[in-house]
């Protein structure tokens, strides 16, 4: 019974996941084609403006742009199933190759950033809750509020200005120095600034959430019972309060994925970091349809995947979510 229910739940999730991806692809496809602007410009550059109507038609035909949108979409979908996502108009190469060459960089930057935020936010939140309203907490809160207000791009600029341009400690752009693709130390040096920017600008928002959630938990009555047993404060905080906060924290961090990813894209642009962030924003600007489709799909899949898996993890570790009937009963009681 239990395993059957679990499989059912899993199937539901997978279906939801696929449906979301499909809807996303349709939306992006239509919206991008509604946008004014000429995709031919990105393919032919300035030449596109001087084309004769016949030439245009021939070019559009070649790129498959003159069919009705739904036909174009079906065509794209068929190709996509075969693994062919078309070519980029601007870079004139297979989008898969184009993205594939850069995606690693983005995943590295965003992934490490996300993990750091995840761990540090938890630690900082617990630290603040432990020292509630004492000096340490107040100081961290104040500094945190300020850092969380600074837009990423400006923090990046200030970082470059101070550490790269003035002090010359760190490189100002790129993922590696020319000719040193395989030098690990060089890569790490290039990662330091963008990574710090991503972590600093996102950290406090989540740490503050953890802090507030913990402070709420600490005010619950079960804390008294736990302390009455003879547990010390640390045992209560970690064994009871933090445990109860974790499910909410997982869902929160799932929602954090799009934000951190968005932040990564911005930081990549400022640091001219060869990731997909710069590509995304260029593809939207220059009507590079095929590239845009792949990138949005990729972003969407990461985000939806994280959401679905966070939900499943939360349900695994939080018995409260499994007791739907009980909760509904209580809700009825309150009506």
């Amino acid at each position: 019974m239990n395993s059957k229910r679990r499989i059912e739940g899993l199937a539901q999730r997978v279906l939801f996941f696929l449906a979301s991806v499909f809807v996303l692809s349709v939306l992006v496809f239509y919206v991008s084609r509604l946008a004014p602007g000429d995709p031919l410009v990105s393919y032919y550059g300035d030449r596109a403006e001087k084309m004769s109507p016949e030439e245009r038609e021939w070019a559009e035909d070649k790129l498959g742009l003159n069919a009705p949108i739904h036909v174009q979409y079906i065509c794209w979908l068929q190709n996509a199933f075969r693994g062919d996502f078309g070519i980029s108009y601007k870079y004139k190469m297979d989008v898969k190759e184009l993205v594939g060459g850069r995606i690693g960089n983005t995943l590295l930057l965003g992934g490490i950033g996300f993990v750091l935020i995840f761990v540090l936010a938890l630690a900082l939140g617990v630290c603040c809750a432990w020292h509630e309203e004492r000096l340490a907490d107040r100081m961290i809160c104040r500094i945190g509020t300020i850092t969380s207000c600074i837009p990423e791009f400006w923090l990046s600029l200030a970082g470059i200005l101070i550490f790269a341009v003035t002090l010359r400690w760190l490189p100002s752009s790129g993922a590696y120095s020319i000719g040193k693709e395989n030098d690990l130390g060089d890569r790490v040096r290039h990662l330091i600034l963008p990574l710090s920017v991503i972590v600093i600008s996102h950290l406090w928002y989540y740490a503050y959430m953890v802090r507030n959630k913990l402070l709420e938990e600490v005010r619950a009555e079960y804390v008294l019972l736990a302390r009455m047993k003879g547990l010390n404060k640390r045992q209560v905080l970690f064994g009871h309060c933090l445990r109860n906060v974790m499910p909410a924290y997982f869902s929160l961090m799932a929602l954090a994925v799009p934000h951190v990813l968005g932040g990564t894209y911005i930081v990549e642009t400022v640091f001219s970091y060869p990731g997909i962030g710069t590509l995304t924003y260029e593809s939207a600007r220059y009507q590079d349809y095929n590239l845009l489709m792949l990138l949005s799909l990729f972003t969407g899949i990461i985000v939806i995947f994280c959401n679905v898996s966070a939900q499943m993890v939360s349900e695994r570790i939080d018995p409260r979510l499994r007791m739907d009937d009980q909760r509904r009963y209580e809700e009825v009681d309150r009506l």
Binding site: Y222, L224, L225, G230, L231, H240, M323, D325, Q326, L335
Partner: protein, 620 residues
């Protein structure tokens, strides 16, 4: 018996922005091994704070100002947190008031008990811990302990959860168990079971216990000795027999007389006038003086010390002073006098005002499941009658009230109010205005039933404005002032917000709002359940008085049998959505027919107050 715990002149204060709250003032008491001491008092009198300060479970803003706490003769007042951790669980344990919130919702019950077992015997094997957990569950009489172990608190009923909390408290066989209102949040029948279990376990393990309660009858059943607290001080302490047979403090008199179980046919409940003082800057003299009809002049000037009555019985009232001897104190009349006054029985059979026929209400829980909250309920209410509806929580009594008031549309059956079928939307709309002004409702939690962002006068005026009533006393405001005075409050409260008022005052405002429409039918859904004994008596008296004056019909919903018996003409008993018995109040209590009614009445904690007034007169 040796003295296990001794508290000497303990004072505890809370440091708040509004000032220093002196929650416990100069309290001294002792508890001997194996003895049960009950601490009785109203909300905010400091009884919980006293217990928590001994266990050192109070928040940082609270501090012990003066006094010592001795455990087996050793001073533990200055123990640090680490030392207290070792005492908690092993020496002290505590059972809390609300079993619904006190267990961690995301840990299984077994894990929570096992945690308590492990912490004090770190060397135990897993198997031994498991064995001990099951043993504890059996000790608190939980059936199928192996399965219950794996369940989460949400799966268990309130009584079960309280048993689990008790099991956790007993895990390390403490020497002193604090029970902070352990039965207050539970239903009457469950309350009796838990009380029984508590006494059994206490005798079996030969523990000492401090039993905190607001309910004198519970204290009488559970304790060897009783301490009465008021405004942070112990005003009277003695053995249970001494306190109940020979109470000496006027506050104890008041508490006892306010019990509806002892009203025994009197027209009014005795109510202690006024309200307890705030403990920020408490009054100079005796804190109870301004509510005490026997107050002496010195009570307003100087706090009374503890006067010994016998070796074990002490009371803090100047009435016991040498100099007050010879004063003629009108001895209050307690006791259930048998000379019962004839209840205002309705002479003839008046017309039927409300006819509920086969009322059924089903809540959908999910696509498959439903919850039948009300199942085929039929009853009538006559004009000018007070009809009581009693039952435990979840028995569907509130749902009945809400169906009658058109908050829910019932799934089946009909409700006929003066010939109008209010369940029929069409009929309801044609008579909307009449129905909405002639029927009014009062809720349990006055906290929640008054909009916190409106002033008192706006709250009282709301129904009048909605129904465009032309105020008979000139302006709306005058009208509001009139009704406020009618419910015993000063017109000065008109511009206050509800948050500045006490629970009893808020309930009065809810009453004023309902009555301002001069309804012919009033529904009150547990209107006094959230109030203290003395406030309860005030509000119930008010209901009775207003009903006699205004003559409205009244549906009174409660879980307190004694209250219903005192107030109502006829009573219906609800159990699991069904109305199992309807009878006149006296008839129901004297000759209950349905087994459930019998069980309810048996579980009522009625103290054995067989002391006579004559006895007291003799020793004067």
């Amino acid at each position: 018996m040796s003295e296990l715990l001794e508290v000497r002149n303990l004072s505890v204060s809370f440091d708040t922005p509004a000032g220093e709250i002196q929650a416990v003032r100069d309290v001294s008491l002792t508890v001997k091994t194996g003895e049960v001491l009950a601490i009785v008092g109203e909300t905010g009198c400091g009884k919980s704070v006293l217990c928590k300060s001994i266990l050192r479970l109070l928040p940082d803003i609270a501090s012990i100002k003066t006094g010592r706490i001795l455990l087996n003769g050793a001073d533990i007042t200055d123990y640090r947190e680490r030392d207290m951790c070792r005492l908690r669980g092993r020496v002290f344990a505590m059972v809390f008031q609300n079993p619904m919130t006190v267990l961690n919702p995301s840990l299984s019950v077994g894990a929570q008990i096992a945690e308590a077992v492990k912490i004090h015997s770190p060397g135990m094997t897993r198997l031994a811990v498991e064995q001990r957990t099951l043993e504890l569950l059996r000790l608190v009489k939980i059936d199928h302990p192996e399965e219950r172990c794996k369940q989460y608190p949400a799966h268990l009923s309130g009584g079960m959860r309280q048993r689990c909390v008790l099991a956790i408290a007993l895990a390390a066989e403490p020497e002193l168990l604090f029970a902070d209102e352990p039965t207050t949040a539970l239903d009457v029948t469950i309350q009796a079971q838990i009380l029984e279990l508590f006494r059994e376990v206490q005798a079996k393990l030969h523990m000492a216990a401090i039993f905190v309660t607001h309910d004198l009858s519970v204290a009488a059943m559970a304790a060897d000795r009783v301490a009465v607290m008021y405004a942070g001080k112990i005003v009277e302490i003695g053995t249970t027999e001494e306190i109940f047979r020979n109470p000496r403090h006027p506050y104890t008199w008041g508490l006892m007389r306010a019990l509806p179980a002892l009203a025994g046919g009197r027209r009014r409940l005795y109510a202690i006038p006024g309200m307890p003082p705030t403990l920020i800057d408490p009054p100079k003299g005796d804190a109870f003086a301004c509510r005490n009809e026997y107050a002496l002049a010195i009570d307003y000037e100087e706090q009374p010390p503890m006067f010994p009555v016998t070796e074990t019985h002490f009371a803090a009232t100047w009435l016991l002073d040498e100099r007050a001897k010879g004063l003629e104190i009108p001895v209050p009349d307690f006791g259930c006098s048998d000379a019962e006054e004839e209840r205002g029985e309705l002479a003839a059979e008046p017309d039927i005002l409300l006819d509920v026929q086969h009322l059924t209400h089903v809540f959908p829980l999910s696509k498959k499941e439903t919850l039948t909250a009300v199942d085929d309920v039929s009853f009538q209410i006559r004009k000018g009658e007070i009809f009581g509806l009693i039952g435990e929580s979840g028995s569907g009594k509130s749902t009945v009230a809400r169906c009658i008031m058109n908050v829910y549309r019932p799934t089946g059956g009909s409700i006929i109010w003066q010939g109008i079928n209010v369940c029929n939307p069409k009929a309801f709309h044609t008579h909307k205005k009449l129905l909405q002004s002639a029927r009014q409702i009062i809720f349990q939690d006055a906290d929640d039933s008054l909009n916190p962002r409106k002033k008192v006068c706006d709250i009282i005026m709301e129904p009048m404005k909605l129904q465009h009533v032309r105020p008979p006393r000139g302006t709306m405001r005058a009208e509001a002032a009139f009704w406020l005075q009618r419910v015993g409050m000063d017109a000065a409260y008109l511009d206050q917000y509800p948050s500045a008022l006490s629970g009893g005052q808020r309930q009065r405002i809810a009453i004023a709002r309902a009555l301002s429409m001069e309804p012919t039918f009033l529904v009150a859904d547990e209107p006094v359940a959230a109030l203290d004994v003395s406030m309860q008596a005030q509000v119930v008296n008010l209901f009775k008085q207003l009903q006699e004056e205004l003559g409205f019909s009244f549906l009174f919903i409660a879980h307190d049998l004694a209250m219903v018996r005192f107030l109502c003409n006829r009573v219906g008993v609800m159990h699991q959505g069904r109305l199992v018995e309807t009878a006149s109040a006296e008839e129901l209590f004297r000759h209950p027919k349905h087994p459930y009614t019998r069980r309810l009445i048996e579980s009522m904690p009625i103290p054995d107050f067989s002391w006579g007034v004559s006895e007291r007169r003799q020793d004067r």
